[in-house]
Amino acid sequence: MSYCVNCGVELDASHKSCPLCNTPVINPKQLEQLIAVPPFPSEKGQVELVKRKDAALLLSVVLLSTAVTCGLLNVFVYKASLWSLSIIGACCVLWVFMIPLVIYTKLSAYASLLLDGVVVCAYLFMLTWLTKQNTWFWGIALPITILVTVLAEIMTFLLRRFRFSFLVTATVSFAEIAVLCVGIELVLNRYLHQRFFLSWSGIVLTICSIITIALITILSKKRLRNAVRRRLHF
């Protein structure tokens, strides 16, 4: 029988310190506390995941039947052009998007985002093949898709690397909005005017940079961070 010298409560024989104040229990005369049965089990439970097999099956069947039906209609009824390929492609893109949600939930977020980027690029390339014009694909679609994929990967990495909080999310979001807007405008200007220059995205960049720098300052100073949290009641 051991008591906490700080709180005055009796402690369970299995405890090596007081759960209320963390004061260690030192009782040289009572070594049996080390072999006492703890009042709670040591195994931690894991929350059972929802099985989404039914949803995955339903989704796959719906997308597959849409693709097959459109393909058959294109071959036998409306034969003027290869219009069904755009629908079949869209079904494939949707199916790939749904993989981490319902089909294979263990897929890593990075791999999933990369796969999404690749499949969107492939779909857009297929559209260029259908329209027989590929300049917009190489000039606009591919660079913007790559930029969005890279930014999504970076955001996932940063949010996983640093402890998730409102401030971190806001910082990363503002920084990425700035980069995305600048990237989109540079790509568009390069495509339309054959040269790189900034106009509207410069304003977005300025505003987002100010907010991001302010947020980074708040995040890096513990006292400031706590003061903001206290005042805003996060």
């Binding site: 906490c4 709180c7 005055g8 409560v9 009796e10 402690l11 369970d12 299995s14 405890h15 090596k16 310190s17 007081c18 759960p19 209320l20 104040c21 963390n22 049965v37 009042p39 709670f40 089990p41 040591s42 195994e43 931690k44 439970g45 894991q46 929350v47 059972e48 995941l49 929802v50 099985k51 206290r230 005042r231």
Partner: protein, 436 residues
């Protein structure tokens, strides 16, 4: 020759779904990936639990409780419960982190879980099925069947039900609607209360601090202050919260309030096993000045006397029922109701109190069950936001207090138990915390 008419009970098809009761409507809307409104009841026997026998007892007893052997489903306007004929619920070894989130589509769609550890049987139930009284009936009946399978005879009394008889309609009713008939709808008072700040524990961690006291000793101390045991514990918790708020950095002080469920069966006769509770919020406003412990006790005592009576509680139930009865609200699709209710709860209801406290009171068991039972425990489960919940139950002379929280700091618990020790009550502490 006239044809023989079947009796009414045969003619009427057996009810195969249940509306959620007035309280139960709210709990599923609060469901998050990391939160479910789950509570736990435990009984500690005097001998180690045999898992196989316990599984048989659960299988037999659960058939007696049709509103607990259910799955929750979504309708267009409301959720509902439908009988769950899937295998289960299965008993499993106990875990360190009780009251884990309970997905509606996991565990074969059951909303109850049974655990065993050494001499202890634990039951966890989602609050949309029923309150602590209903849950206690299920747990005690399972325990009685378990003991009967071991060869004991148990009288069907108090919380123990006869598994061979059909449940009465009264056990399955939504008792709120029967008593929601006050002439006015008293308005709800909402004021932002002090909120306990702390470092959040990692996902799924629930810190338990269990205090075991002598019931007789506690009653004596409460008597010394001239109040009941519940009022005394409320006052001690308020005292602890006030001290914590004072020590923390604050721009301004806020009122300290406790969310305390009141068992309405005490005031409105009902044998329902579903939810039949309402919340009251005893509190202290430190902006009025510094309160001594004696003043807090008096304030709590007066609050309880004033608010916890049949008239006030009937008005409270009527106010709650008014929203459900409103025809305009009834036709709002479920997803919109979910969105609005969860936002309202997070923004207003949850901020209305600083901590939770429930006292189930004396847990009675049939005489022939007493030699097999050591103690009972109750856990209020994971709090919706970072705070601590306190649940109390008494069996014979053993009074157990279980604090459950998802924050690392145990300041409220420490201040609470230290006050009990200062008042001369012997407290024994046990915990599931990593550091101990």
């Amino acid at each position: 020759m006239p044809s023989k008419r079947p009796p009414l009970s045969e003619k009427r098809p057996k009810k195969d779904w249940y509306k959620l009761d007035l309280s139960a409507i709210v709990y599923p809307t609060l469901q998050r990936r990391d939160f479910s409104a789950v509570y736990r009841l435990s009984v500690t026997l005097k001998a180690p639990v045999d898992p196989e026998l316990l599984q048989r007892a659960v299988d037999i007893a659960m058939k007696r409780f049709p509103t607990y052997k259910v799955a929750i489903r979504k309708g267009l306007f409301w959720r509902y419960l439908e009988p769950n004929r899937r295998p289960g619920p299965y008993v499993r070894p106990d875990i360190k982190n009780p009251c884990m989130p309970m997905g509606f589509q996991t565990n074969n769609r059951y909303l109850v879980r049974f655990y065993y550890y050494e001499n202890r049987i634990s039951m966890e139930a989602h609050h949309c099925l029923g309150d602590g009284t209903g849950g206690m009936c299920v747990l005690q009946t399972v325990t009685a069947v378990y003991l009967e399978l071991q060869g004991c005879f148990i009288t069907k009394k108090y919380f123990v039900r006869d598994v061979n008889e059909e449940p009465s309609p009264g056990e399955l009713e939504d008792a709120y609607m029967r008593y929601a008939d006050a002439g006015v709808h008293p308005p709800r008072v909402h004021e932002k209360a002090y909120r306990v700040r702390g470092t959040k524990e990692p996902f799924y961690t629930l810190n338990i601090i269990n205090g075991t006291l002598s019931s007789a000793e506690t009653k004596q101390v409460a008597k010394k202050y001239g109040v009941t045991v519940t009022e005394y514990f409320n006052a001690v918790l308020l005292y602890a919260l006030l001290q914590k708020q004072e020590k923390e950095w604050h721009l301004r002080l806020r009122p300290v309030k406790i969310a305390m469920p009141v068992n309405l069966r005490r005031f409105f006769p009902s044998e329902t096993l579903r939810n039949f509770i309402t919340m009251v919020y005893p509190g202290i406003d430190p902006r009025l000045g510094a309160y001594t412990f004696e003043e807090i006790v008096t304030q709590t005592h007066n609050f309880m006397r004033y608010y916890i009576n049949e008239k006030f509680l009937r008005g409270d139930i009527t106010t709650n029922a008014a929203t459900q009865r409103n025809p305009l609200i009834r036709v709002v699709p479920l997803f919109l109701k979910d969105f609005i209710v969860s936002r309202f709860y997070a923004a207003i209801q949850d901020k209305n109190s600083s901590a939770g406290l429930t006292n189930m009171g004396l847990c009675q068991v049939p005489e022939d069950m007493k030699p097999h039972i050591e103690r009972f425990d109750i856990y209020m489960g994971q709090p919706f936001s970072s705070r601590t919940n306190c649940a109390i139950i008494t069996y014979e002379d053993t009074l157990t207090i279980n604090f459950a929280s998802s924050i690392i700091e145990a300041d409220v618990e420490r201040l609470f138990f230290r006050k009990l020790v200062q008042d001369g009550i012997h407290v024994k502490i046990a915990s599931n915390r990593e550091s101990v």
